[in-house]
Amino acid sequence: MKFWKKLFGKKESKKEQQDTKPYKSLEKNLKLFKEELLKDCDDVVYREFTVGKNDAYKAAVVWIDGLVDKALINNFVMESMMIDARLVEPKPSALKDNLVDLLKNKTLAVSEIGEVDTIEDALVNVFSGETALLIDGYEKIIIVNSRGWESRGISEPETEAVIRGPRDGFTETMRFNTSLIRRRIRDHRLKVKNYRVGKRSQTDIAVMYMEDIANKKLLQELDIRLNNVDVDAILDSGQLEEFIEDKWLSLFPQIQNTERPDTAASAIFHGRVVLVVDNTPFSLIVPTTFNTLMQSAEDYYERWDIATAIRALRYFCILIALYAPALYVGITSFHPQMIPTDLALALAATRRSVPFPAIVEALIMEVTIEILREAGVRLPGAIGSTIGIVGGLVIGQAAVEAGIVGPLMVIVVAITAIASFAIPNYNLAISLRLIRFGLLFAAAAFGLYGIMLATLIILIHLCSLKSFGIPYLSPFIAFVQDASDLKDTMVRVPHIMMNKRDINAPKDEKGRLDDHQEESFDIEEGEED
């Protein structure tokens, strides 16, 4: 809790960022850059030149090598100013006062241009890939948009692959990502608000939401939390997630991440808010409920009956991923009367040579499979699959033959591992992996009774959990007023029946389909009958 207060409590420390006004003299400004602020920054490029017919005005551009589109600077900044600007003959008086306007409005053929008042702002912009244009005698710094760095092309999202559905995924560039979302929402009510988080990293974050559907309180809360993040660097949305989520002590992820622009767009259409973080292909979606973590984009693209069956299967997989090893231990150690006699006898026969109690047996196999998983992530692709075969087949088979574990345990562990991969959200899957061990110990200590106790504890925790004001277990809890939200949970009803937005949308913005469409649908159905 202390940490929490430190994070979000009243800030005592003074604002660290100082505002330095640029000097009037170009020389002084450049000196400030070269010898103080950007000393030993060899990737900074300075280019000084003169403007005007009589070379009366000195100017300089500053940019970071590698972050800018050099062709743009050459053709539309340098050329314009050094050659084209000479062709116009401005009145001296006009020049005196409005040189900058002249440059901005008449000379620079660049689409985006801005001004900043302080050195610090200018630097941040330069580091983001803009070009700073300094003019002698002018106290502001002109920022020319010239971003253009090497970046990865749009590729298929690896963690959320689908069989049917769009194959474009977010990349590391925030602007690409917001454009991918914008392409799906051609509506002026889609808002994109920029934030900068991280004192040193100054990471760009775009908050995207639908103005009329998104909850105002949620936006306020998000604004407060984002502004209160006090950390030097945000390198990935995962870091940001931890700073802005409700309970960082909880095992459950309270913020969903996605690599898919269609998932993000769909969330926005439901009144949720997407945070696109620069330098990572993973965008965040708030608020998040347990239910949304169990949804996959494909559910909405496949036929509804198949999607429903798959949803149900996924919830079943959660049960397996959580309980299978615990049940094995509980039943073999405490309650053998609960399984069919034949199975009990077969188990007794195969476990006869196993020297360890069931909990040790389970731990050996579970830890082994966790090691295999971790190793599989580190290993290069080609060797990775080999390790899978070696680990899965050889170790499992050999362990049984060596009499360290029973054959059923191998099956249980394998099923558990497979089931945990069926959970669409990796974030949730890894927390379940950890909880599984807790349940395992509970089962080893108290049998099925222990499993029930542990389950109750987890449920109590889940019930108390909230993500940005939305109960984590909604719509499963308190579904009396939001009963229609259940249409998109363990079942996925046909789209035509999902005519209401869920709990995230304000009460008067629930309708998704216009009445006309619903009516025409009813009529069509009537005719068929």
Binding site: T332, S333, F334, P336, T341, L345, L347, A349, R352
Partner: protein, 403 residues
């Protein structure tokens, strides 16, 4: 925060310090699949040495000690524990029999742990076999059944049977088709739908009837050389075995009680010049009691409705089973046969045993709450004198494939 953590740690530790740990690994338990209960009888001197040949001695490692004659030795218990080594093909003996004598089931089971390296576990018990000597003793049967009922591990769904001789004799048989005696017998009970020649047999149902009236029927189990037969039933009156019902009588009883399907029935049909044997499978049965209110005596009518399928007639192109007349004749024959069997059984129960295991008491108490209190007190005396009529209706709906 710190305080809470320490408290939590202490709480967790207490659970580790109770010496009472329920965890027993699945291979550390001895699964008693069937339990036989006999009355302890002093073995005739010299018999135990001669009775068991050396092979038998090896196959059945029982009698680690010869019990002394002691007033505490009232029961002789036979535990059948399947040999898990046999399941993986490492042993020849499918079952291990332990025989122990004792005053009651609990202490005998405790004493048994001095002889086996496993925990005696009743959670997978399938069959309880009670020897006739125990069943005839009013106290011993009640003691045993109470112990079974109180045990939290023994399921209500286990089968119970009474052996005309000793229970041990039944359990020593290793049926050829499935040498696991307990499992084998449990499967036999499950076959009841095919041929209802044994009555009741589910522990929970037996308890229910015993708790209500003290009367019930329990199937009879007869050992063979290499198989076991479950057929016929023992009639229990006032928690005591008073007699046996044969297989056919049991079937009639089961039809009256409405607890089983009638199964197959064979009638002899007199054709024009020859007699045909016609087995008929009766596949559906509705069975209900009716009280005839017109008479002043208690007069109960049993209405049985069944439909059937002819399984065999005679290969004869001129005789067609499709003829309604012929079907009617067969139906009449079936009705007559069932009626006769039922009447015979009712007579036996009313006159010989004088015990109502037919369920008349159940019916009256349920549907005639005004009449029942008048007769409830001395139902045992009333029952033999009431009139029970049987009304059977059969419809033959299928004759099998023809031509």
């Amino acid at each position: 925060m710190k305080k809470h953590m320490i408290l939590l740690a202490l709480l967790m530790m207490t659970s580790a310090f109770t010496g009472c740990w329920d965890a027993i690994e699945i291979d550390q338990r001895g699964y008693v699949m069937s339990l036989g209960i006999d009355k302890y009888e002093i073995p005739p001197p010299g018999k135990s040495e001669e009775g068991n040949s050396p092979e038998e001695e090896a196959a059945v490692p029982t009698m680690a000690h010869i019990p002394e004659d002691n007033p505490r030795n009232r029961f002789s218990f036979t535990y059948v524990i399947p040999n898990v080594e046999f399941l993986v093909g490492e042993s020849e003996n499918p079952n291990i029999l332990y025989n122990t004598v004792g005053e009651n089931l609990y202490s005998a089971s405790r004493i048994l742990t001095t002889r086996i390296n496993k925990q005696v576990f009743f959670g997978h018990m399938k069959v309880l076999v009670i020897g006739e000597t125990v069943a005839r003793d009013p106290d011993m049967l009640r003691e045993v059944l109470d112990a079974i009922e109180r045990d939290q591990f023994i399921s209500r769904r286990i089968s119970v049977a009474i052996a005309p001789d000793t229970a041990r004799g039944v359990l020593e048989v290793e049926p050829l088709i499935n040498p696991m005696t307990g499992q084998f017998m449990a499967d036999l009970f499950r076959n009841k739908d095919r041929s209802p020649r044994s009555g009741g047999g589910i522990m929970g149902d037996v308890f229910e009837e015993l708790h209500r009236w003290g009367n019930t029927v329990i199937p009879r189990v007869i050992p063979g050389e290499e198989d076991i037969k479950v057929a016929g039933s023992a009639v229990i009156k006032n928690y005591r075995l008073i007699g046996w019902l044969g297989e056919v009588e049991t079937r009639a009883l089961e039809i009256i009680r409405g607890t089983a399907r009638p199964g197959g029935l064979t009638v002899k049909h007199q054709g024009k010049d020859e007699e045909h044997i016609v087995p008929i499978d009766l596949i559906y049965l509705s069975s209900e009691f009716k009280l005839d209110k017109t008479s002043d005596k208690i007069r109960v009518i049993k209405e049985v409705k069944t439909t059937g399928e002819v399984k065999q007639f005679i290969l004869d192109p001129h005789q067609d089973l499709m003829e309604p007349q012929l079907i009617r004749e067969l139906e009449a024959l079936v009705c007559e046969k069932i009626k006769k069997e039922m009447k015979e059984t009712i007579r036996k129960l009313q006159e010989e045993f004088q015990v109502d295991v037919l369920g008349v008491d159940h019916y009256l108490s349920k549907y005639h709450p005004k009449l029942w209190p008048e007769v409830e007190e001395d139902w045992d005396e009333v029952f033999p004198h009431i009139e029970i009529n049987v009304d059977v209706e059969t419809k033959i709906r299928r004759v099998g494939l023809t031509k």
